[in-house]
Structure formats: C-alpha cells, structure tokens
C-alpha cells in the first residue's frame, strides 16, 4: 500500500509539484522572516557588543524613565574625574553619542531618512573604548576635523583632506575629513551615516558643553567587572547608573529586539495567512485527486486493502509532499530574506546587516509548520478516500458516496458562519472586553468566517458563476458558454479553489478600506488645523529641528508669525502622557477648536498653565483650573493648572494631550527641539515668500519648507508606502491561491481528456480550447474576488465601527476595488496559461481513446 502511494506520487509529478508549491511559499515566508530578523538581530548585537569591546563597565544616566538612549541631555563631565580617581578604575573615558547629519556635495542631506545618523564625540587618546575603528587616515583631533564611515566616504567619492558639511543642533559647519571609520564588522548600519569628532568639538557642536553621554571604564589589573561596578556605583549620584559592559550590551539589544519582535510577528502573520491559504489549496487538490482515483482506490480495496491502509496511503502521500515542500521552502526563505530586506530598504527601512543567519530554530519551525499544515489538510480527503466502496471498481463513472455528515452540511456551515460573525461582532463592538480576548475573538472569528464561507460557497457557485461568466459568453462565444458551464459543473471544486483566492482578496480589501478611512480622517484633520502658510519640518521627520531654525525663520522677510511646536514624553502617576510646548501665537498658525477657553489661552499660559484635549480631560475628570502634575525625563516635576480644553480632530494633531508654554517646557525637558515650526508670511503663499524662507534656512539643510498641500501629500505618500508593503505581503497568499487555481485546472483538463478529444473532433479549434480553459479560470477567480471583496468590506465595516472613536471612517476606495477585480482576472489568465496549453496540445485520437 505504501508502494501504491509513492508510485502514485511519482506518476503524478506535476500535480504533486503544484501542490507542494502551495506550502513552499508559506514555509519560505516563515523561514525568510526568521532569517531576516535573526540577521538583523545579530547585526545589532554585533554593533552593541563591538561598541563595548574595550570597556568593562559603562556609566549612563538613569531616571524614572529608565536608562536613557544616547542623544538625551547627558550628564556633567566632572563625574569622569570622580571615577577616574577610584582604585579599581584603570582607565575611563567620556563620550558623546548623538546624531548629526552629513550634507552631500549637492547640498542634500546624506543617509537614509529612516534611521537617525550616528554622531560620536570621542577622545582620540581613548581609542580603546571607541565603538568604531579607524580604517584610513587618523582620529579627528581638534575643531574642524571629522572622520566619516566608509560607505558614505566611498559613495560620495570623497578623499582624505576633502571638506564635508555637517549639521547637528546649530547651523551647518564645514569639516575636514581626516579619517574613515568602520563600525566593527558590520556592512551597514541601516543606511545611517556615521560622523566622529573629538570630544571637545562634539560638545560644542551638540551644545553639550562639559557634558558627556556615557563614560566607559576599564578595570584595574585583577579587578572583576562586577567589583568595578560595585565600587563605582557608590560614587555616583542617583541620576546615574553603572553596569557591566555585558549588561549594557544586553540592555541596548533588548530595545532593538523588542522592535524586531514586532517585525517578526508582523511578517509571520502574513506567513500564517499564506499557509492558511495553502492548506485550502492542498485539501482541494487532494480531494480532486481522490475523486479521480476512485476506480484505483476501489480496485485496491477489492484486492484486499483495508480502509486504514487506504487512509494511510493518502496521508503518506501528503507527508512526502509536506516534507519536500518544507525543505524547499526553508531554502527559498533564505532567498526571500534577501528580498524582504530589499523590500524594506525600498520602503526606506534599511536595517543593519552582517551575514545571513540560519538558526536551527528556523529549520525546525519551518519543517513542523510545513509538514503539520500539509497533514492537517490531508485528513478530510483521506477520510473521504476510505469511503470508496470496493464495488466502485466495477461501476462505470462511479462517484464517491456522500459523507455521513453531508446532510448536515449546509446547516452546519451556516451555523459556523453565523458563529464567526457573532464572534466578530462581540470582538469588535462588544463592551467591556480587554484587548487580549477581543483580539482572540476577532482572529478566531475571521478564520472561522473564511472556513464557513468556503463551506457555504458551493451553494453560491451556480448563481454567482452564472452571473460572473456572462461577460465571457459574450466575448468568447461557445468557448465562453462552455467555460461557464464547466465552472458550475463541480460546485464544490470551484468553490474551494475560489475560496483560496477569496482569503487574500478579503484581506487586501480590508487593508485598502482601512487605509482609505485613515487617509481621509488624516486629511480632514490637516485641513481643519493647518491654517498656517507654511510648516517647517525635518527631513525624514526623525530629528526634530533646533530652536535656532525658529529664530532664523523669524528673521526672514515678510514673516508675520513663527510657532515652534516641541514635544516630549512625561508621566502622570506612572502613565505616559504626550506633552507639547507651544508659543503664545500658536492660535495664529493652528486652528484650535476650543471647548473651554479661547485663542487667548496659549498666550497666557505662563510657566504653570496648560491646555489639554477634551478626551484627556474627560478621562481624568479635569476642568478649567484643575491641577496637573507631570514628571519629566530629567526628573523634574511640572506643576500645572488646566486653562483650556480643546477638541482634537480624530485624525490627530501636532500636539500631545497636554500643551504648555515654551517657558515651562524648555527647562525641564532634555534638549527642547521643534517637531513642527509653523510660519505665516505677509501676502500668503507665494514663490517669493517660499524662496525667502529657503534662504533663511540655508544653514539648516535638514529643514524642509512645506505648504499645507505638500505636507498632506507627503504624509499620505508615506501611508501609501506602508500600504504597498502590506499589498506585497498579501500578494504572497494570492500567489499561493494562483497555484491552487493552476492545480485545479490541470486536474480538470486531465479529467476531461476524452471530452476535449470529442470537442476537438467536432470542430473546436485549439484557440477555442485555450479560451474555454482561460474563461473557466477567470470565472473561478472572479468568484474568489466577489466573495473576498464582500468579506473584506464586511470586516472593514466592523473594524471602522469598532475604531470609530480613533478616527477611522468607512470609505469605499472604488478605484482600488476595481484594481483588485482586474488583478483577480489577471490571476485567472495567468493560472490558465499552462493548463490551457496542455489542453490545446492534446492529441485528438489519444484523447478519444483515453479512459
């Protein structure tokens, strides 16, 4: 019996191959995700561990907010002298870690906009502590000198001794390149540029006079890192902490690992979708195969095979396919990891990479998932195979007996679908559920909805295919009519083939509708709030702009109002709260809809006034005059009183929940810088005014002047980029269903060989044969699209309803939906190419002889 299964597999190579493909892609996505994230993870680990190679312990600031990332306020350099004097300290060096943008020869900022450009202030004498190595030239020593990373150096075609501009807090300055550095063994730091200055120059550049961000320590002979930490800790003020270099590496990589974890689960979710679709394809293919092998199975039954043996022969076939597909999938995943990295890079998310990392875990998970899904999908068809009675061997055209449960089929599938909808309703609209059960209900509901609709779908095939096939009968005449009839001929098969495509299209539709809703609420918000002529923001939006930009703008000709909006994160009783700082004239540049208070409020905030959003006020029962205490990252406390309450639009605003004056904000938040700087000019938006602003900003290449429409377009464009990534990832599951469609068509052609011979004999041309298969394929694909889009719209309606408070509105992106339908047609056409060729090439006589 085992031999029968394996022989069968070998004799149905093409079919087995196509079936395997459905799993290969899903597994490739799983292993690709692991390889990619592991690779990035090891890239970061390399950065961190190499950064602290020369150190035994590290001192950095610690506040209520936890250990501070580089680029925060830093701490007094005098700490260095205190610790240097300790007996267990052999050597100590302070350094600055901040970010500075390098400017290219064309005046444009260099480096990707997704990562913050790294800048280091180092003492050349303490080379051993440096995270970077000099590979060419020497360490910068003295103002006016800089060392930059190898990639930028090469890409820009620079030479030692050349000048390069850089900007940090203040205006652009020119430096002489004296050295080229590399960050350990890393090929790229996610596209970020690296610039190195000597400590004094950096302190000046970053406006951190007598401040360092970090102190690295080397232990004296015979002193362990732990002993060193213990001694140093006693000398430090409460705002500083010391830990061993190993612990420091741990802490820093934890942060990035958390981010990577998100990326990993995000990608795995799409892998799961592809695998889910793949399981549909496999179940469908196997059950078609079993239908076609009824005779063969019955014959082995008459020859004495037991039901159990028949069951195992089918499961064994699936197992072999699963194993092979998983192995190929894992290998393909390595390639996919490279592709995904390119995809992320194309979307502006470049990540640090060293060599590809393939861990054992990746292989194990890939195998388990691939084989597991294949086996799971084979159970139903295998059980069906056991129901083939031996008598079928001698009956012409015998069909499988219906399942014992068949008569409960429709009620059961309808109940399942109804249950799924109920779960979705509870999960999305139900009150009083916490996030976890809510997500569980929604996730389970979606999966059950797909399964339920797939089970109900055979009943929908006739009416839907009849309607969807109608255009084909007009276009392709007799071939189109036959195609439509063929699509309706075996509703269960057509339905389950279409269901695979349905899943992908439902999710694509959901995403498109949500994005459309998001976009329109965002645009509404901007339209409402943005009454300034211009906004000045930072290139890439990562590094807020120094207040000097605000000052420079105020000097520009014709400027009537400049409002810099800074932001930071504070805490109220342990809960994070977004704090913004606005100038008194903010009402001139941003239209604030006051619930309590008026446009006069911002001007009268003083050092202890604040205005808050309606939502925030409601959450905390605040009214005018209510006190508000906010802890800031520097460890200080802001004591405020509510002086205004405003209605924040659903699409968001430039402000946090709490807004205070610059005077209140600047002293207690580290490095106050502006996220937005709104500008009004006399005479409104004109080319002259814009040119004037550009001139005023000549020293700040990072700063970008935008009108309201430009601001909107750019924000919408970045949303579209994210949307495109989602589309590409979902396209994977559509590709899987495409393979399913190919598979069904191949099997169908095979099954209808004699019929095709007859059709050719009575006058069907090869072209008509191809058309017939193609149109059948298109009808099936359209069926998937119709079901998928309907489900997608339903899910989107639920989600927008549930998230109405967050500013989601429901809007049908008709254009996108039309594109999806066209894409489905394309899938149908592509899937039909190979099967149609095979059908058209059939030798008429052989086909007629075929049984």
């Amino acid at each position: 019996m085992r031999r029968v299964a394996l022989r069968g597999l070998a004799s149905r190579k093409l079919r087995s191959l196509l079936t395997a493909f459905a799993i290969v892609l899903g597994v490739a996505m799983v292993s690709g995700t692991f390889v990619l994230t592991d690779t990035i993870d090891s890239g970061f680990d390399t950065v961190f561990s190499e950064s602290y190679e020369g150190a035994d312990a590290v001192i950095s600031p610690e506040t209520e907010f936890g250990r501070q990332a580089a680029g925060s306020g830093g701490f007094p350099a005098s700490v260095l002298e205190d610790v240097e004097a300790l007996p267990s300290v052999a050597e100590a060096a302070g350094s600055l870690r901040d970010s500075a943008r390098l400017i290219g020869r064309d005046g444009e900022p260099l480096g990707g906009s997704s990562v913050s450009p790294l800048a280091l202030g180092l003492d050349p004498a303490d080379e051993q502590f440096s995270p970077v190595r000099i590979v060419d030239g020497e360490w910068p020593d003295g103002s006016g000198q800089i060392a930059i990373d190898r990639r930028t150096f090469d890409d820009e075609g620079l030479a030692l001794g050349d000048a390069i501009s850089a900007t940090a807090r203040g205006p652009v300055q020119e430096f002489e390149i004296v050295g080229v550095v590399e960050l350990g063994s890393l090929e790229s730091l996610g596209g970020a540029t690296i610039s190195v200055f000597d400590l004094a120059t950096a302190q000046e550049l970053f406006a951190k006079e007598d401040v360092v961000d970090q102190i690295q320590l080397a232990a004296a002979e015979g002193v362990s890192a732990e002993a060193l930490v213990a001694e140093v800790r006693g000398e430090l003020p409460a705002t500083l902490d010391v830990q061993t270099a190993a612990a420091q590496v741990e802490t820093e990589s934890e942060d990035t690992s958390a981010g990577l974890g998100f990326l990993r689960y995000f990608l795995l979710a799409f892998a799961a979708i592809a695998l889910f679709v793949g399981s549909f394809v496999i179940a469908n293919t196997l059950s078609i195969t079993i239908g076609q092998r009824t005779r063969e199975l019955a014959t082995v039954r008459t020859l004495g095979a037991s039901r159990r043996q028949v069951l195992w022969s089918v499961v064994l076939e699936a197992l072999v396919v699963g194993v092979l597909a998983s192995i190929v999938g894992i290998l393909l995943g390595v390639g996919l990891a490279l592709g995904l990295n390119e995809l992320l890079a194309a979307a502006g998310i470049e990540l640090p990479t060293s060599g590809l990392v393939l861990e054992t875990r990746t292989i194990v998970v890939g195998l388990v998932v691939g084989i597991g899904i294949t086996l799971l999908a084979s159970i139903r068809p295998a059980l069906r195979a056991t129901r083939v009675p031996p008598i079928a061997a001698v009956r012409e055209g015998s069909v499988l007996p219906p399942s014992r449960f068949a008569r409960f089929g429709l009620p059961a599938s309808l109940t399942l679908t109804a249950g799924a909808v109920a779960l979705l309703l509870v999960g999305s609209l139900g009150d009083g559920l916490s996030a976890a059960p809510r997500l569980l209900a929604i996730g389970l509901g979606v999966i059950l909805l797909f399964v339920g609709i797939a089970l109900v779908a055979p009943r929908l095939v006739r009416p839907l295919a009849s309607a969807l096939g109608w255009p084909g009968t007009r276009i392709a005449g007799a071939a189109g009519r036959l195609a439509r009839a063929n699509a309706m001929r075996n509703p269960a098969r057509t339905a389950s083939t279409a269901s695979a495509l349905m899943i992908g299209l439902a999710l694509v539709t959901l995403v498109a509708i949500l994005a459309q809703g998001l976009r329109s609420t965002f645009v509404d918000s901007v339209d409402q709030l943005f009454v300034a002529d211009y906004a000045v923001v930072a290139e890439g939006g990562f590094n807020p702009l120094t207040p000097e930009v605000e000052e420079a703008l105020a000097q520009a000709p014709g400027v009537e109002a400049v409002s810099g909006v800074r932001s930071g994160s504070g805490r109220i009783a342990g809960e994070d709260v977004g704090v913004s700082a606005v100038p008194g004239n903010i009402a001139e540049t941003v239209a604030i809809r006051w619930d309590e208070g008026s446009d006069a409020v911002p001007g009268a905030l003083g050092e202890d006034g604040a205005f808050v959003t309606r939502e925030f006020a409601d959450e905390r029962d605040l009214e005018l005059g209510s006190p508000l205490e906010i802890e800031t990252p520097t460890g200080e406390t802001l004591a405020l009183a509510v002086e205004g309450i405003w209605e924040e639009p659903k699409g968001g605003s430039p402000f946090g929940q709490v807004a205070v004056s610059h005077e209140a904000f600047d002293p207690v938040f580290p490095e106050p810088r502006n996220d937005f700087t709104f500008v009004n000019v006399a005479g409104g938006i004109t080319a002259d005014a814009e040119a004037g602003l550009e001139t005023a900003l000549a020293d700040f290449p990072d700063a970008k002047v935008q009108t309201r429409d430009e601001f909107k377009d750019e924000s919408v464009a970045s949303l579209s980029r994210v949307l495109n990534i989602l589309y590409v990832l979902l396209a994977l599951s559509v590709v899987v269903s495409l393979f399913g469609l190919v598979n069904t068509l191949v099997l169908t052609v095979f099954e209808r060989t004699r019929e095709l011979g007859m059709l050719r004999a009575v006058g069907m041309t090869r072209r008509q044969v191809r058309r017939m298969i193609r149109h059948e394929s298109i009808v099936t694909a359209l069926l998937g699209a119709a079901l998928g889009i309907a489900i997608g719209v339903f899910l989107a309606a639920l989600v927008t309803q549930a998230l109405a408070d967050e500013g989601f509105s429901f809007a049908l992106p008709i254009g996108s939906l039309v594109v999806f339908v066209l894409a489905a047609i394309l899938v149908g056409v592509l899937a039909a190419i190979m099967p149609a060729r095979r059908a058209a090439r059939l030798n008429i006589l052989e086909a007629l002889r075929y049984e």
Binding site: G477, A478, A485, R489, E755, M758, L759, A761, G763, T765
Partner: protein, 259 residues
C-alpha cells in the same frame, strides 16, 4: 507510388453517376518505428459516394478505426492521400483541418461522448455554436423530432438511456449537414433492441436526407443496413459486397477470416 499531379483527384471521377464525397488512395499508416513498427493500414484506396451508407467490417486489429480516423482528418497517413469533397486534406494545418471537420464531418462515437453539463439540445447544437454561424432552428427542431427526443430536449445526458444518448449524438452529427458522417461502432455499447433503433435511424438519415455515412461495425445486423460493405483484413480491403442480408455478411466475414 504515383504522384497526385499526374492522376486526377478521385473525387472528380464519378462511379454510378453519383458524386464521390470521400476518397482515399494508397493509404498506409504505420505506428512506431523499427522492429516494433505496426502497419495498421497497407495501401487502401476507396471512394465513398454521396448518399450511401458504407459499412466497414473486419477482425479486431484489422485497421478499421485507423482508416476512419485518416478519412476524417483526425490522423495523418504515413503514405497516400485523402480527399474530402475536392480538398486533399494532407496539406492542411490544424486550424484548417478543424474548420474542415466543422463543415464536412460529423462524428458518432461508441461511447456517445456527450457533455454532461449540457442538455440534449445544447449538445446537439454544440458543433454549430463552435463554428459560430447562425443556427437553423427549424432544422434543429426537425432533427430532434426525427431522433425522437422532442420531450427530452432539456434533459442532461445522465438523465437519458444509452440509446437516447446515442440519438443525441446522431442528431449532433447531422446538425451541421456534413458532407460525411463517420460512426465508429455506434451500436457497440448498446443492447440488440436499442441497436436496431439506432441503425434504423442511421438508415433513415441516409434515405431521408441523402446523408453520406461511413460506419465501422462488428455487427452483421448493422452491416446489413448498409448499401455497401467493405471488409478489411490486415490493413487491406480484401472484399466488398453490396447490400445484403446479415447472413450473407456473416458468410463474407468467415471467408475473410479464413483467407
């Protein structure tokens, strides 16, 4: 072998004053190559006249089906030529051959070969639809009436008996008023009573519409309704008799088998 340039097309020569619809000269068909080669036909020449029902008989493996396939343009001869009306079909490409089959040839198969998802009537008009021309409704109605399926026209093949299915197939073959209908063992899959009905129907179509028909059969009763019976043995025509009784057919068959 003579070249076709020096010989007039057999189609142009008329025996008994009837035009020749299908003609073959020196047809040979070899399957395979080298030691395993099988000569299914070894030089068959014949002329099928208009309005005649011709039966082809012979032992199993004698080349009957092969001959029919060659005459119908479903297969190409290794040597020799086939004319349908005045077209020599050896040079036609697949598309032209398909078009020729649409216009000139009707098929009746042993296993009916109807499309299960189409009704009886839809099966009947299928060749007309494939050809894309206008369907002559009156003719189709008459045909359906003639084959006795007026009350079954909307039934699916699975709802029809074997005999009824073959009637549908006959109507399908006649629908395009082809030059010639080829039937390969049309009664091979039916019981004797039903076979009789089907043979009567074929005979009627020849008498009523002058439908030229070629039928391959093992059944002496079937051959007995033919105007002419050709006997094949080992890839050659070895005997030919005119219209006669089943008994005479059996005698002739025995003679052929012994030779």
């Amino acid at each position: 072998m003579e070249t076709s340039a020096t010989t007039p097309s057999p189609a142009e020569s008329a025996a008994n004053g009837r035009p020749v619809r299908v003609a073959a000269r020196d047809l040979a068909r070899r399957y395979g190559e080298g030691d395993n080669a099988v000569d299914a036909l070894r030089g068959v020449s014949l002329a099928i006249e208009e309005g005649q029902l011709t039966a082809v008989m012979g032992p199993s493996g004698s080349g009957k089906s092969t001959l029919m396939h060659l005459l119908a343009g479903l297969d190409r001869p290794t040597e020799g030529e086939v004319w349908i009306d005045s077209t020599e079909i050896g040079t036609l490409g697949d598309n032209d051959l398909t078009r020729l089959r649409r216009r000139h040839i009707g098929f009746i198969f042993q296993f009916f070969n109807l499309l299960p998802m189409l009704s009886a009537e839809e099966n009947i008009v299928l060749p007309l639809e494939l050809a894309g021309g206008r369907t002559d409704r009156a003719w189709v109605d008459e045909l359906i009436d003639r084959v006795g399926l007026s009350d079954r026209r909307d039934h699916r093949p699975s709802e029809l008996s074997g005999g009824q299915q073959q009637r549908v197939a006959i109507a399908r073959a006649l629908a395009s008023k082809p030059t010639v209908v080829f039937a390969d063992e049309p009664t091979g899959n039916l019981d004797s009573a039903t076979s009789g009905e089907i043979l009567e129907l074929l005979r009627t179509s020849v008498d009523a519409y002058g439908q030229t028909t070629v039928m391959v059969t093992h059944d002496a009763n079937a051959a007995a309704v033919a105007d002419r019976v050709l006997f094949l043995a080992d890839g050659r025509i070895v005997k030919e008799i005119g219209r006669c009784s089943p008994h005479d057919v059996l005698l002739a068959l025995e003679e052929v088998a012994q030779a």
